[in-house]
Subunit: 156 residues, 2 copies
DNA sequence: GTTGATCACTTGACGCGTCAAGTGATCTAT
DNA sequence: ATAGATCACTTGACGCGTCAAGTGATCAAC
């Protein structure tokens, strides 16, 4: 790969990429610390609870839950162990297929999520949604989707 | 904090935010694994070498280097220790002020960076820069800058 | 119907980042 | 001059994510 001279970024490309790179570095930290401070949850834990809350019977197989919450199965397994200890999630062997394990959101877990969601939405509004015009939100969706397509189609 | 009903996201806001959130999750991983696979470097290590290479005398005080590479001083201290062991960076007490320590990029470190840069630029092009139109790059710069302003001006 | 492959998941070790505590140099006030 | 504050940085412990190896259930082939 990279035969010949690499095509370095032009100044315009640089400033766009640097802006995105900084957002990539700083936004996750800001979301993380809001959730940690106000709810004692990591962003990933929040996504897990959130995905479960939207599922039928508040139940999902580990594999599907991992995909929905953007994490590896192994990472999910560790996190569910922690969430189980805190009483917010329960593991249940799947009756239909012994290979599957269902993760179930408990009532306490649902309450926890309901208590944590408003603060999370608020910071998302403050830092992103309310900061941008409707046009920019539409552009952001297009740009984000394009990048995600590239990410998915890369064999890398 | 969140008095009254939280203002949930509208569908248009949701899809924009979800696209950004997914990028936030997946892009860093893709950059990380390209650098790890092709150069044996973490993204943060790459940024440290890169920042040093652009500085006068390839030298920066730890504090400034931490800011330029988007990391805490503590994180930087650990990373520089590792980079020192691999021979790419050297620590030097600052003659002018005994509180400062200068990090210096060695020749081996410079060579390492020169060897690693093309692959990194290439994946940035593939996943982001070349995937977007010039208009979209300009929009991305605007959107990114706006979010960064919010991040900086938040006392949170 | 038994062997082997595959699948869903778990586990433990390791590496990295964070946090809090600590070190030593340099200002600042008196 | 000296005591205290502040600054730049380091260190070690801890928690989390990753990776590789392992478990056990189910499928596929013959």
């Amino acid at each position: 790969m990279h035969l010949g001279e690499p095509r370095w970024l032009t100044p315009d490309e640089q400033r766009a990429w640097r802006a995105l790179a900084s957002v990539l570095f700083k936004l996750p930290g800001a979301l993380e610390s809001q959730l940690q401070r106000d709810a004692g949850l990591s962003h990933f834990e929040y996504l897990v609870l959130s995905a479960l809350s939207e599922a039928d019977d508040r139940t999902l197989r580990m594999k599907d839950l991992a995909a929905l919450s953007n994490g590896s199965l192994s990472r999910l397994s560790h996190v569910v162990t922690r969430l189980e200890k805190r009483g917010w999630v329960r593991r249940q062997p799947c009756p239909a297929d012994g290979r599957h394990i269902n993760a179930v959101l408990t009532d306490a877990g649902y309450d926890k999520l309901r208590a944590s969601a408003p603060g999370h939405v608020e910071i998302v509004r403050e830092l992103v949604v309310d900061a941008l015009t409707p046009d920019q939100l539409a552009q952001l969706f297009e740009i984000g989707s394009t990048i995600l397509n590239r990410l998915d189609s890369t064999t890398t």
